[in-house]
């Protein structure tokens, strides 16, 4: 028997050695793969956490900015309007401009 014939006969006879998985193995593999490829990666996970935090901080910063600007405006406004005329010994002085 030549080497080729030998291998060809062994191949035929070895056919039952092919692995037959249990009926649920393939379903388990599919489910496992699906679960793992849908699971978010670390950068995605971080992005998911940081996005709302960033948004909240941005809102706080905006509110603070608006608040400071309003206070500034009010302060400027009250100073501007609050010039006081003082008359002393016939001369008049203006304070607060």
């Amino acid at each position: 028997m030549t080497d080729e014939e030998f291998f060809s006969r062994v191949r035929n006879d070895a056919a039952p050695l092919r692995y037959e998985p249990d009926p649920f193995a393939l379903a388990r593999i599919r489910a496992g793969v699906r679960e793992r490829i849908l699971r978010p990666t670390v950068p995605q996970l971080l992005a998911r956490w940081f996005r709302p935090i960033t948004a909240t901080l941005a809102i706080i910063a905006l509110a603070a900015g608006i608040g400071v600007a309003t206070i500034d405006n009010n302060d400027n406004g009250s100073m501007g309007d609050a010039s006081v005329e003082i008359v002393m010994a016939g001369d008049s002085y203006s304070v607060g401009q």
């Binding site: 028997m1 030998f6 006879d13 070895a14 039952p16 050695l17 998985p21």
Partner: protein, 183 residues
């Protein structure tokens, strides 16, 4: 296969459903290759899963003009060979007052009703590691030399040489079944 190319294209665009179809096409073969190398049902299952996840993660780099099968088989074989290497390292550390032969748990073997097949399986199991892997891929999984070379990263010449050595040993061990092997 046109539809396979389409599925790969869709998977590259992030369609996990299309990738799931590819998994269902190849899972059985991938599992069989993995089991043939690592000889443990649970390791093979884990390995098959890992191979598909790895494939999905790098599917963007997959070339559409190539078939998907050899690619996933190559990933599987590489992972399985890594498992063997890892086992060898662990075995070195543990050390073995038990059986000297690296036989896996026989409970994992499928029910083999055919006595000849059982003898062949036993003889393949007793081959040195790479001869066993190559013989398993050639005789049981029916891959050609070129395919085995691509899957294992060995040269075709090395694959032929492993097979030739394996053939010699198998002929000797199975001489009562296939003649005395003197030609």
């Amino acid at each position: 296969m046109g539809s396979e190319r389409e599925l790969v294209e869709r998977a590259q665009a992030g369609d996990t459903g299309a990738f799931d179809v590819l998994v269902s096409f190849y899972a059985k073969r991938v599992l069989s290759i993995a089991w043939g190398i690592v000889r443990s049902a649970s390791d093979a299952e884990e390995l098959a899963q890992e191979a598909f996840v790895k494939a999905y993660q790098s599917i963007g780099r997959f070339r559409l003009d190539e078939p998907f099968g050899p690619w996933i088989f190559r990933i599987t074989t590489n992972l399985a060979l890594d498992v063997l290497k890892h086992r060898k390292r662990v075995k070195h550390e543990e050390i073995t007052e038990r059986e000297p032969a690296p036989r896996r748990d026989r409970a994992d073997l499928p029910a083999i009703t055919n006595e000849i097949a059982r003898r062949i399986g036993g003889a393949i199991d007793e081959l040195p590691e790479m001869q066993r892997v190559v013989a398993q891929l050639h005789l049981i999984e029916e891959f050609e030399h070129r395919e085995i070379a691509a899957m294992t990263g060995l040269s075709e010449g090395t694959v032929r040489s492993h097979l030739s050595l394996a053939r010699g040993k198998l002929r000797e061990k199975l001489a009562d079944l296939y003649g005395d092997g003197d030609d």
